[in-house]
Subunit: 342 residues, 2 copies
């Protein structure tokens, strides 16, 4: 078994441990943020961490009403701009905590008066030293180049933060169990990947809270399967990208039952007319019925809590497709685990 598959399986335990170990810090952080009267949240990340931040953006705006901006690091690092961030919460997200540009943005934000928070897997990292407060993912060492358990660990921290900032109970304690249920789909995923062994291109679609997941699955497919995987929201897809769809072009959809349902159904109907191939990870009967292939998730998972459990079969899909293609998911060509860009 690949390291990647082993680490995918660790996720329920990592999530459980992270909730247990980190919830205590939140009251203190919540108090500081309320005193500061935060009116903007800025998220800073790259790679998989950026996809987790992309999810965090939706979750935080929806639950707290505070506008969120996904930072463009080069504005700080290359263009040397000083942004007005005196009432901002700036959150760096990095598995290793050693992304040089991410840390540079945090330092610049601190100087501009922002409150800074690090979300990282490494307690003694540079990020943990720079940030005013740190939320740790308790994932242990991540050995696979393709991030899985730290990605969902980062997502979890956005639920913890949202619950403090919105001052409501978000039921994120259910997520480890839902994630465990998702792992049960492994043998079904093993069968489904056979259909995609010769796939060279695809489009991954998600929307709203699951839009970040479409970026993450696309990245996993690029890293481990060398598939040229585009990612779009089902809304943006109609603004141009639809033109690349031809007969049997594969579209993968992460589409739970919920408010994004109609938009995903509209897209699936259009894809059917175009004779495209669609594979959906869903817990909605109609979406499954309209798809060429589907993987059924438990119906009890509400859309609001779906992003973490729904990425699990997607991670399995990438890891098992790599295997079926005869590739080594643990050793993607040309990549290294820690990337430092300025």
């Amino acid at each position: 078994m690949s390291l990647m598959l082993a680490e995918i399986a660790e996720q329920p335990a990592v999530l459980e441990k992270t909730i247990h170990a980190e919830s205590g810090k939140l009251k203190k952080i919540g108090k500081v943020l309320r005193e500061k009267d935060i009116d903007l949240i800025v998220l800073v990340a790259r790679g998989s961490s950026d996809n987790a931040a992309f999810f965090g953006r939706y979750l935080l705006e929806i639950t707290t009403g505070i506008p969120v901006s996904l930072s463009a690091p080069s504005v700080y690092t290359l263009y040397k701009s000083k942004l007005r961030l005196n009432r901002a919460l700036v959150i760096g997200v990095s598995q290793s905590g050693e992304g040089a540009d991410i840390n540079q943005v945090l330092e610049s934000a601190k100087k501009s008066g922002a409150f800074t928070l690090g979300i990282t897997n490494c307690a003694d990292s540079t990020m943990a030293k720079i940030a005013d407060e740190t939320l740790l993912i308790h994932a242990g060492r991540e050995n696979s180049v393709a991030a899985t358990k730290t990605y969902t660990g980062q997502m979890l921290h956005f639920y913890l933060l949202a619950s403090i900032l919105a001052d409501t109970k978000l039921e994120y304690e259910k997520i480890p169990e839902f994630t465990d249920q998702a792992l049960n789909l492994k043998s079904q995923v093993e069968e489904i990947v056979q259909r995609y062994v010769f796939m060279e291109n695809c489009v991954v679609v998600g929307r709203g809270l699951n839009y970040g997941n479409s970026y993450e699955l696309a990245l996993k497919l690029m890293e481990t399967c060398y598939v040229v995987a585009e990612r779009f929201s089902s809304a943006d897809f109609f603004h141009g990208p639809l033109a690349i769809i031809e007969r049997r072009f594969p579209v993968v959809m992460i589409a739970p039952h919920g408010v994004t349902r109609q938009s995903n159904i509209d897209l699936l109907k259009r894809l059917k007319e175009l004779h495209a191939d669609s594979f959906s990870i869903t817990n909605d009967e109609e979406i499954a019925r309209l798809s060429s292939r589907s993987l059924l998730m438990p119906t009890e998972i509400d859309e609001f809590l779906s992003p973490i459990p729904f990425i699990v079969p997607a991670q399995l899909f990438a890891a098992l497709l790599a295997e079926a293609k005869g590739l080594d998911a643990d050793a993607p060509r040309s990549l290294s685990k820690i990337t430092t860009t300025i």
Copy 2:
């Protein structure tokens, strides 16, 4: 000649006319915004307009220091959230002014106390009626499905806005002339597309002020050439996507001389090691030397003013490649000009 090629050629005149006709409004808008003491700018758009907004984000943050957020429309339209926007400037960008979700975000923002601005090509559009103020693109009717003259017209408006918000002279009056010079490269582009007639996938790379352009060229290649075109910043590329690169995989780069130079050079060197194919639109000798093919832009174009003139050869590339592939750039399969999504 396709409508798309004809409209590409109109750009210097459209830009000139837009500067002339709209500059007068800016003093008034500037006064309102200063009175309101804006501390956040939110941009709302889809498709090509979203790519123009992506450029606007960099330009506005770099010149004004005001944080910018690219809006996620579904937060408003599907999740029905009310964001705290009482000190925000919210800018809708839409060629037709009829994007239903964009307009819904503007209405919601207005209710939250934001000052709203529309950037559109249609003076009597719904957007122009909703927004507190409107900046018009004077492009005349855009007949091609693939947006070109309205895309650069939208970009231009961000220069006009930035000059008012930052209260500095930005020399955007030079842009129409630079854009005219860029059109002179047409015969060179005609030769270069021959090399890419059978290209089915590619990656488009840009960074900073030209990052939005990489999204725009990728979209044009999808719409008009049915090429599966990924888009990345040269920084993000090292975080995973590099794995898809194999011998002769084509990478197109929009890379002016300037602060993003080193990062683009680092990527080109890595691509050379991997025997990838690189085609760069540049005015930097070293970048041209490291690329498999390049298109040389005038050296007098400063990076700060490069995004509009540098997209012109990219538009020509897409339009002429479509022709060389035997496709009709004016009639992309499955698309229509106005897209209304919720």
